[in-house]
Structures are given as structure tokens and as C-alpha cells.
């Protein structure tokens, strides 16, 4: 019984939240990795792109709510998602036309793109704060829990409860669908193949008659979609605050680099590695050990390896370890 209780506690506090968080990071890291693979620079504006997409979706959600449109037990934000994606896609195409294209024509070095993206980041940051403000926004509606801790306890008779939030299930489900579509797109369609070809060998792609501007355009549109979905899922699961999204940049980049920059499979694996590490290390193990160890050995303190305030340090440490020992990442991406 104790073992089952320990398992449920672990699932409740570590596995379920980490799965949801990992899916969000994976979607974010996919965007970063696509930009790196195809446009060949680290896009520091990605966190704020996510914030912009989420903001656009929130505004659309509010409009829908006030018009009396709802999605039943599911959050209205899912209905508003296409609008957010469209707005983000337009924003990214606009910044590309306005900023990146100039450097692309000049064949600027990647580091110049990186610095340019830093500038874009500040501008996007400003736009988001200007429009929606810096405060926390809750926009999740619909059913809050799939199973509450109390229901679970009465159902199973265990001491520990397992709460599963609707948003967590939605996050994982949406992530699976999006990733499946993305991989189908990259591997099976002509557009996806030309994107891969362009990423693999730019010169050859050009000399095979692939139009680079078109590849770039599709990349931005896909990245806009991924960023918005990742941002909205994160916002539904937790809450929307522009500054948090800026901070998400670190775990997202860590995920992309751990998996191997430029490798989509790596981005997904990296997302989960970072999420599980972060959640496990900042979770107090007291309860778990209390169930597993004999009473005499039960710990007195919280047995929390690291305070949640330091959770970003986890990504940072993993990032440094990977860069030191395996700079190309788990799935052999391009070396950083």
C-alpha cells in the first residue's frame, strides 16, 4: 500500500506536471530548432514570440467569451488559437521582411542574426507589455479538473490523491497531435522536404531550383504556429505573464541544445529531459521517502534538493554539462 501511495504521490507531483511542462518546452524548442536548422541562427526572440501569440489568443478568447461563444468543457482559448497563430504568423513574416531579410541578402554572419533577434526580442517584449500589460492574466475556462484528488482517493481508497487538470491532458494531447502533423509535414510533403533539403545543404538546395524565400516564409509560419501553441498551452496550464515567457527562453534553449540544435526529435527529447530534471529536483521528496523508507529513517526536513526559486538554474546546469561533454547534443544536431 505504501508503495502504491508513493507511486501516486510521485505521479501527482512529478510525472504529470513534468509531462505537461515537457510538452510545452518541446513545442517551444521545436520552434527554436527549426529556425536554427533552416535559417541558421539562434532566435532569442522566441520566448517573446510565444508571449505575443498567447496575447493574441487571449484577446481573441476574451472577444469570444463576451460574444457568448464557448467550447463546452474545453477552454475557449483552443477555439481562439487559429486567430492567435494567424496574428503571430503575420508578425513573424513582418519582422522577417523588415529585419532579417536585409541581413540575409547581405549574407551576414549568424552572430549578426542573433544580435538582430535580440533587438526583435526587446521590441516584441514592448509590444506585448504595451497591449496587455505586465500583470498575470488567467484565461483558462471550462472544466478545471479531469480527476480531482478527492475523487481519486474515494475511487481507489488510497491515502494519496492524484489530481489531473484538464489543461494538462489538453497540453499533452495537443502536443502529440502537433508533433505528429509536423513530422508528417517535414518527412512526407514536398514543402517539408525542401525545408529539410535547405537545412541540410543550402548551396545544393539553391542549385536544385528550390526557392529560398519560400522555404524561409514557410519556416516562419510553422514557427509562429508552434510558438503560439506552446505559449497558449503554458498559459492555460499556469498563467500568462509576459516576464515569465521571457524567462522560458532559458529552459527552451537548453532543451533545444540538449537534444541537438537543428534536430526536431532532439528538441522533443530535450524538452522532456529538462522538464523532468527541473520538476524532480525542485520537488520536496519528504512524502515520497516517508512512504518508501521505514519510519525510523523517515526524513524530518522537506528533502527538497533545490528551492523552486532556483528552477532555472537546473536548465542552466544541464546546458553547461551538455556543452562540455557532448556539444552536438543527444541527437547529433549541428554543433553550437
Amino acid at each position: 500500500m505504501d508503495f502504491l501511495n508513493a507511486l501516486v504521490a510521485l505521479a501527482n507531483f512529478v510525472i504529470v506536471p513534468a509531462l505537461a511542462y515537457g510538452s510545452q518546452l518541446a513545442l517551444g524548442a521545436l520552434g527554436v530548432t527549426l529556425i536554427y536548422g533552416i535559417l541558421r541562427f539562434s532566435n532569442f526572440a522566441h520566448g517573446d514570440t510565444m508571449a505575443f501569440g498567447t496575447m493574441a489568443t487571449i484577446l481573441a478568447t476574451w472577444a469570444m467569451q463576451s460574444a457568448g461563444i464557448s467550447f463546452g468543457v474545453l477552454p475557449t482559448a483552443l477555439l481562439a488559437l487559429p486567430i492567435g497563430i494567424a496574428a503571430t504568423g503575420l508578425l513573424l513574416l513582418g519582422t522577417d521582411r523588415l529585419v532579417y531579410k536585409f541581413y540575409r541578402v547581405k549574407k551576414a554572419k549568424p552572430v549578426i542574426f542573433v544580435i538582430a533577434s535580440l533587438g526583435v526580442m526587446f521590441v516584441m517584449n514592448g509590444i506585448v507589455r504595451f497591449i496587455i500589460g505586465v500583470d498575470d492574466q488567467q484565461f483558462a475556462d471550462g472544466e478545471r479538473f479531469l480527476i480531482t484528488a478527492r475523487d481519486f482517493r474515494t475511487m481507489t481508497g488510497l491515502e494519496e490523491g492524484l489530481a489531473i487538470k484538464t489543461t494538462q491532458v489538453i497540453t499533452v494531447a495537443v502536443a502529440i497531435i502537433v508533433v505528429a502533423i509536423l513530422f508528417w509535414f517535414l518527412n512526407k510533403t514536398r514543402t517539408g522536404k525542401s525545408m529539410r533539403a535547405y537545412s541540410d545543404n543550402e548551396d545544393l538546395a539553391l542549385l536544385s531550383g528550390i526557392n529560398p524565400e519560400r522555404v524561409v516564409m514557410y519556416t516562419w509560419l510553422i514557427v509562429g504556429g508552434l510558438a503560439t501553441i506552446a505559449g497558449v498551452l503554458y498559459g492555460l496550464d499556469k498563467s500568462f505573464k509576459p516576464f515569465t515567457y521571457f524567462q522560458l527562453l532559458l529552459p527552451i534553449f537548453a532543451a533545444a541544445i540538449v537534444g541537438g540544435l537543428g534536430s526536431p526529435v532532439g528538441a522533443i527529447a530535450g524538452g522532456f529531459v529538462i522538464a523532468f530534471a527541473e520538476v524532480t529536483i525542485t520537488y520536496p521528496l519528504k512524502k515520497l521517502l516517508g512512504y518508501l523508507l521505514p519510519d525510523s529513517l523517515a526524513p524530518d526536513g522537506l528533502v527538497q534538493l533545490l528551492s523552486t526559486d532556483y528552477k532555472f538554474a537546473v536548465s542552466f546546469v544541464i546546458l553547461i554539462i551538455v556543452l562540455l561533454f557532448r556539444p552536438t547534443g543527444l541527437f547529433k544536431g549541428k554543433s553550437v
Binding site: T189, R190, T191, L204, L207, S208, N211, Y218, L221
Partner: protein, 263 residues
């Protein structure tokens, strides 16, 4: 076919191509020779649009094509291969060939979702064509292999195959023979001659192997220090004092190469 007028391409103070002028006749196989650093590959890069010229003009069949980007030139029928073979390493050889004709209907997002049938038909035709090309190059067995894993010589063949996926007018081959064994080199040479005769491709071939040049080409251009030094048949070129001197400057071995070749 192609006319290059007083073409310059400088890298800082270094004049890689320094006032080269030449004409490529339609239907010919022209050999482009010259010591290392003569500017042959840079000339190719400028003509194929990879590099912008510092000054000068390139025309193709009377049309000014100076400084157009590679994918535009591709659609005009001007193709090139690389000195070091390029390939999409994570795709199979067949997929590599199928990538070639850019601007297929599957390349627009709309058709990806709503034009499935048209794409499927196109893909089928492409697939058949790719298999035909592999057959022509006698490497059908490589169709399912990843292009990153085949040998250097086979990659060169694949490069040649890439030019056969579309109706090219003129193809620039940059050292197709380098690092390729004799048997494979003969296959490549035969393929070039057949393409020239059967499909009326014009070829410009950079090559150091004089045997190979002698076998395939009727007209040879020799470059040195960014300029065209001499032009004519291989025998004339070999007898040319200036050419011998240009080669001598880089070492005796090259002179032997010149003399040892059959006429």
C-alpha cells in the same frame, strides 16, 4: 550559348577572376583547365550565381544573366555540380534526385493540404524519372541508400544524375573526375558524351586529368591567374608555350601530365 565578357571577381585585394572573357558554343563539351588557383571554380561560381561578380557581364543565349540567383538560373536550364560532391545526406539517393526540379506543385502550402492528387501524380512521374536516371548511371542498386553513406565517386555520379532530372541546357561540371576510380570515371565520361549527343546538353568541364579531357572534349580553354590564357584543341593547348609555362610554374609533375597525355 554562354558569353562571358571581361569578368572580374575580387576577394579583397585578391583577384580570383581578373578580366576573363570566353564563349561557350551550344552543343559543345568544353574543357576548362589551368593550374590550381587559376580561378576556374570562382568563374563557375560567378556564372552559376553563387557569387556576384565585381564587374563584367555574363549572357546566356543573348540574355543578360549577370548576378541572377542560382535557383533562377536553374529554371533557365543552367546547372552546375560541385568540386566536392554535395548531397542531402539524410535522404536516399532516389529522394535526392526527386528533390531536383524546384517549383513543384507540392511546394505551396495550399497544395500540400488540398492538392494531394496532383502531387501524387507528379511524385509518381518524378519517381519513375529518378529510377530511369539511376538506371542510366548504372547505380540502380543505390536508390534506397542514404546519400550520406555512398562513396565519393558515387556521389559524383549522383551529382551528374541531378542534372538529368530536368532538361538542362548547359551544365558546369567542377572536377567530376577528382578522386574517382578509372572504371567509374569511364562511366561518368560515357554518360557525359551520351547526354551531349542524345539530349544536346552543352558541357563545361573543369578537369585536371588530361586523358579524361582528351576523351570527352573537343575544345579546351586554359586559365591562369584569373585570365583566359589560351583556347583551342587539346593538341594546340599542349603545344602552347604560355600554357606550359603556367603549369611549369606550379611544378614539373604537371608538365609530365601535359606531355604524357595521348593526342
Amino acid at each position: 550559348m554562354i558569353e562571358v565578357q571581361d569578368l572580374h571577381r575580387h576577394f579583397g585585394g585578391f583577384r580570383a577572376v581578373d578580366g576573363a572573357s570566353l564563349r561557350i558554343e551550344p552543343g559543345s563539351i568544353t574543357g576548362l583547365i589551368g593550374p590550381n588557383g587559376a580561378g576556374k571554380t570562382t568563374l563557375f561560381n560567378v556564372i552559376a550565381g553563387v557569387l556576384k561578380p565585381t564587374s563584367g557581364r555574363v549572357t546566356m543565349a543573348g540574355e543578360d544573366i549577370t548576378g541572377l540567383s542560382p535557383h533562377v538560373l536553374f529554371h533557365k536550364g543552367l546547372l552546375r555540380t560541385f568540386q566536392i560532391a554535395h548531397e542531402f545526406s539524410s535522404m536516399t539517393c532516389r529522394e535526392n534526385l526527386m528533390m531536383v526540379p524546384g517549383g513543384q506543385s507540392g511546394e505551396t502550402l495550399w497544395n500540400t493540404w488540398f492538392g494531394r492528387k496532383r502531387i501524387a501524380n507528379e511524385e509518381r512521374a518524378l519517381r519513375a524519372k529518378a529510377d530511369e536516371v539511376l538506371e542510366f548511371l548504372t547505380v540502380s542498386h543505390l536508390a534506397e541508400q542514404r546519400a550520406g553513406q555512398i562513396s565519393g565517386g558515387q556521389k559524383k555520379l549522383l551529382e551528374l544524375g541531378r542534372t538529368m532530372m530536368v532538361d538542362a541546357k548547359i551544365v558546369f561540371l567542377d572536377e567530376v573526375g577528382a578522386g574517382v576510380n578509372r572504371t567509374l570515371l569511364n562511366t561518368i565520361g560515357d554518360a557525359i558524351i551520351r547526354l551531349n549527343q542524345e539530349r544536346n546538353y552543352t558541357f563545361v568541364v573543369i578537369e585536371h586529368d588530361m586523358d579524361f579531357i582528351g576523351k570527352i572534349s573537343d575544345h579546351v580553354i586554359c586559365m591562369a591567374e584569373g585570365k583566359v590564357l589560351a583556347e583551342g584543341s587539346l593538341a594546340e593547348i599542349k603545344a602552347n608555350e604560355q600554357v606550359i609555362e603556367a603549369y611549369l610554374g606550379t611544378g614539373l609533375k604537371n608538365k609530365d601530365q601535359l606531355e604524357g597525355a595521348p593526342t
